[in-house]
Symmetry: C2
Subunit: 710 residues, 2 copies
């Protein structure tokens, strides 16, 4: 077991709160009242300079007056009081706090200084805290809730980490109305002490958490985040929304928690690499999180669709198809079996369509059992279970006719759906329901409370099902994926030392690449025209000759690159031309590499991030198509393969118009190795390999540009 401070923060034995008063419109009071109302089993000690009691509970004038050292201190006080109070709690022996108070880093210069002072005070006492500028936390199992909104649903298995407090407070009614139940929820605020990585690591050890949902505006420790998430997603699914990557998003997020957001494509790559499913909305975080936390994973892609209506059935099939799932036509044998259970005109292919139908036993028990027990089916989607929702809708029409009370009319339907509830675990196959009736419908309510997700549209149910399969793929891939740590090659340091003095020229850059096992074109550095001629003979005509010097940029535009030189005379002329243009340059004599397929790769550094490794389509299409994928170093070989497969034009790597299949592993090794190179030598600011040509089936780096850190 780890010594993660959240073990105490999420389940303290006792809590002291400063900032609660007898004025119930104040935030501190609201959170105090919610804390008491949550059913927290331990003692809660309000601290108040004047009041003797706060809503009936004895209050203490000062921190030092507390009857015991509280496990957790909670502060909802004006900003200028926070540092002193943390100091005093620390002196008392308290090692954990939740700081709701805002007005720190997120407000500018003064706030930054205040946050630094806060950190200093906390560190002096080994005190860890959530916040500042956060909404607190929820632990439905203890129970404990210190947020501004009361808990209303029983515990579930989805835990939430959020950089916005709203998503664990304002949404509690919303979640209840949709049958989404939380397990633990943490608002991290400014993350001065505890950050999202700590929360992830805590939740990974929590036996009650079966899926993790995240709302992210900025990750402060991307390298650690990647390492932790990569490990966690092998066992527990993570679904995350990231919204800091656009200009307006970043400006907004910045004023929000003082976060420095990064470009969207880096986060996208980071999530893919970590095995995190990216959500496009907070609704998706909750909804897909609910499916992931409640359903077994499908063993395959074959989904059975059971519906009472063609439209939703078709829409589910369509959504599944777009997401790479299958809705296979059933075998004659299975169709015969279904036919025996079905009324006249119903369709027994897949989707199974009962058309307008009110026999809920057939819909919710008989047919699900028949479908789930079939070896042709990996998962089941149902649309059309309707109970009191439908009855309530129809009642105004029927009440005068039946002379029946609403309750009796409701009960006349009495959909029995109990047997369905344990089918997912019995068959180890996921079941997801689509219904236009929400919790006002008794069957929908019973299904949700029994752990089967009910979503309010066919497309959402189908998309959640496809995502269960996505996670299954992530988990099975992750098993074989490990980062291989190798020491830097010994000769590398020599080149680094040279570059430190002279800067990087093309030859040294490629020499460094070769040292790291990256294949380049065959080439010789020549210091004189005579040596260049000699080199051309060694390499074999035709050759390319380039001016080579650290200060030379835009070589092509300056006429410093001469291609396809077929004779000694041509080499001489090229060298003379280079000498005229750039007297100081040496000559780099290279074999001519021909290849119709061009790619690019590179490494760049973004503040706070590990080196980001880019792969993309090259050639004249590169800029127009912007077809690239980013991952962070260190890359595992299988992550690099996945990165290569992530560009839209990846089919170019397959056998293609008489060209052979490209050795993807060799290409992946390049990405792994330049990532390692950048990790080994932080003084290299950036690496650009452009182009990487494919000769036969092998990638070769033909030009390389390194930039030294300023």
């Amino acid at each position: 077991m780890s010594d993660n401070p959240l073990r105490t923060i999420m389940a303290p034995r006792s809590i002291a709160i400063v900032g609660a008063s007898n004025n119930p419109t104040k935030m501190g009071t609201i959170q105090y009242l919610n804390l008491r109302h949550s059913g927290f089993p331990g003692p809660v000690y309000p601290i108040h300079p004047k009041e003797n009691q706060i809503f009936g509970v004895e209050a203490y004038p000062q921190i030092e007056d507390l009857p015991e050292v509280p496990d957790l201190a909670m502060l909802v006080v004006p900003g200028h009081l926070v540092v002193d109070m943390i100091e005093r709690f620390g002196a008392l022996g308290t090692r954990h706090a939740v700081i709701i108070t805002a007005g720190f880093k997120e407000t500018g210069q003064d706030g930054v200084a205040r946050e630094a002072a806060l950190m200093q005070a906390a560190r002096a006492h080994g005190l860890h805290f959530l916040g500042p500028n956060c909404m607190g936390l929820v632990n439905t199992h203890l129970p404990l809730n210190v947020t501004a909104a009361p808990l209303i649903s029983p515990p579930g298995h989805l835990s939430i980490v959020s950089q916005s407090g709203t998503y664990i407070t304002q949404t509690l009614q919303y979640l209840h109305d949709r049958g989404v139940r939380l397990n633990k929820a943490v608002s991290v605020g400014n993350e001065a002490s505890i950050d999202v990585v700590d929360v992830l690591e805590f939740l990974a050890e929590d036996p009650e958490t079966k899926a993790i949902g995240m709302y992210i505006e900025c990750i402060r420790r991307p390298g650690d985040f990647l390492a932790a998430a990569r490990r966690i997603t092998r066992r527990i699914p993570i679904i995350a929304q990231y919204v800091g990557g656009t200009a307006a998003g970043a400006r907004s997020g910045s004023s929000h928690t003082g976060a420095l957001a990064g470009p969207d494509d880096i986060y996208d790559g980071l999530f893919k690499q970590a095995g995190i499913i990216r959500a496009q909305s907070i609704e998706d975080v909750y909804r897909i999180g609910q499916a992931l936390s409640s359903q077994p994973l499908p063993a395959g892609k074959r989904v059975a669709i059971l519906t009472n209506s063609g439209g939703p059935g078709t829409a589910m099939a369509d959504t599944l198809d777009r997401m790479g799932m299958e809705v296979p036509a059933f075998s004659a044998a299975l169709q015969e079996k279904l036919q025996a259970l079905l009324p006249g005109h119903a369709s027994t292919a897949n989707p199974v369509d009962l058309t307008f139908h009110v026999d809920m036993t057939l819909m919710a028990e008989t047919l699900p059992e028949a479908l789930l027990s079939s070896k042709e089916v990996d998962a089941l989607l149902i649309h059309g279970i309707m109970d009191t929702g439908w009855a309530d809708l129809a009642y105004p029409v029927f009440k005068d006719i039946f002379k029946m009370s609403r309750e009796d009319f409701r009960n006349s339907l009495n959909a029995n759906i109990e047997d369905l509830l344990d089918m997912p675990s019995r068959f180890q196959k996921p079941v997801i329901i689509s219904s236009f009736f929400g919790r006002q419908d008794r069957a929908a309510r019973r299904l949700q409370d029994g752990g089967i997700p009910v979503f309010d549209s066919p497309e959402k149910a189908a998309a959640a099902m496809a995502t269960l399969h996505t996670y299954r793929t992530i988990r099975s891939k992750a098993v074989t994926s490990t980062v291989v740590h190798r020491p830097a090659p010994k000769t590398a340091q020599t080149i680094i030392d040279r570059a430190r003095i002279d800067g990087w020229n093309e030859y040294d850059a490629k020499e460094m690449l070769r040292t790291y096992g990256v294949p380049t074109c065959h080439e010789i550095l020549a210091e004189s025209i005579e040596a260049a001629r000699q080199a051309a003979h060694t390499i074999g005509f035709p050759v390319a000759v380039k001016g080579c010097h650290a200060t030379l940029a835009h070589k092509t535009e300056r006429g410093l690159v001469h291609l396809d030189l077929a004779s000694e005379a041509a080499v001489t002329a090229a060298c003379e031309s280079i000498q005229n243009e750039a007297g100081e340059a040496a000559f780099l004599v290279c074999e001519m590499v021909r290849g119709k397929r061009e790619f690019i790769a590179g490494v760049h550094r973004h503040p706070g991030f590990p080196p980001s490794v880019l792969f993309g389509l090259g050639g004249i299409f590169a800029e127009a198509l912007q077809d690239t994928a980013i991952r962070l170093a260190p890359l595992t070989p299988s992550e690099a393969l996945e990165q290569i497969a992530a560009i839209r034009s990846q089919a170019l790597l397959d056998a293609h118009r008489g060209l052979p299949t490209v050795d993807r592993k060799a290409l992946a090794d390049i990405l792994v190795n330049i990532g390692q190179l950048a990790l080994d030598f932080p003084q290299i600011e950036s690496i650009d390999l452009n182009p990487i040509l494919i000769r036969d089936d092998q990638p070769l780096v033909v030009d390389a540009l390194f930039e030294q850190k300023k």
Copy 2:
């Protein structure tokens, strides 16, 4: 005014219904009871062979016994009775019907025959009908509802056309709960008589319809649909979901309404061309339809965001940004003005973030007024209006403290949002609300009922706002877009006649293209080697020589294409080689065209569709990138320009690595003209222009393949 039969079907003076009985579990009875409950103002005549009255209303034993000729006949009877009854209603003088009964084309061979007989009977009497196999219709203004579910919301301005009855019945409670109000709704079923095009044309003339939502599995008259929708979307927005384009979707849809679905990309092109906004889910049809039917269109892209919480504010900004909208930072002047209205720490940039805040007058009136009256703002999104929803959530915590009834506690908030209701029309700027509280919240309810959309997530509110702007762009573009009808060139017929006898060779294909003004490479057809040599001199070396004959396919693979011939001798050798391989061929001598940028275009025919015109990226990337866009002929010039801009690699057409900007208009003309060519000569099955090379800034067709219809 048109003589559209829906004018009577949607607003009949009297209705006869066959299939209603005194058994309330039967579909016919349910629809009859809903019809009566809807408040339909005219007489309803049930017809029943045995019963004297149906739920208290006099019934007639036979159609012929009716006291008057009903405007509308409604049939919910077994399938074998339908044809006879239509015959008899027709004889009586009824000219309009709704046929709910299923078991026609959608069920196979026998059903197809039955539907043919039905059509024959109807045509004999000039009778038009909805269905068969449909759910009926709703007209909230009359009011009239003959579906299986009762109407519960007052009239709105969104009308729905659906190929699934579910989307105008099962969803009525769903729509009510979300504040979405319908105006008219039609379930078209098998569309034997009246189809979606008729419904669109009817709704286009309906003054109460401000937006049209569609659920589509198949369009039976795509050409007419395009023409109608193109016209309608200049005035009224259409948002449509199409789900027939995937394998499973097509299978499912086919069993559903007997529809033959087409490939997804053709529908996608058709929608774009028609100015239809494509929805990815039925929820989007309703939600965005609601926004389109209730809000003014934004004059520009600048959205103000007002929020009480950073997360939702950031998420809205992020969504807007992704969808091409702007969330501009406000000027110092506007920020100052806002600052004067705001409490201490609130952010006055955009988003304006009040943080946790309960003054609803500020949130819902003061700040919206300040923002909407600013010239810096084209539209407003608000997150954070909370009223009784929040009160109900908090009440269990506070009730013991305040000793207050739930009602009193609710009223203590009393959010006044009345002034907000008329701001969209007052400022002619759209307002959309995001709230995690639905209709249980009094303010949300009041806003929805007052015509301001309230959506349950920040992303949905922002996406709907962006779509309002999308529609504004569609409408402004459409004004300048018209199809130019030109007669077929006179010389075309000569080439067509030759091709009918000999088949299409490359020269004739290109000659035809040139006749239609499509630029090709300069070329001469030579019947002898001597003539080929002569032609080469005329064109100027270097030239290309190809074997030219209608039966020659795979010319490159068979060695029948010889490029870059720089001398008479080379031309001779090429011709001899062609003669050896394909004795019967003539020689096509062409100028050598060089161009780094390659595109493809073509025309193909899909059953029931107008010719589909394809444009895409060419060259070795074509297959790997699959970067194409489809539109239907006839194309307007501006639609062709839009088609060209729809491919991902369209940036290649801009000035690029020393290459000039491509003449897009010339490229667009090619698409317009090959579409016209295919319309003029249906005997041409397909056209493939591959490649179209860009020389300087002009496109030139270098190779062309026509196929004659078999």
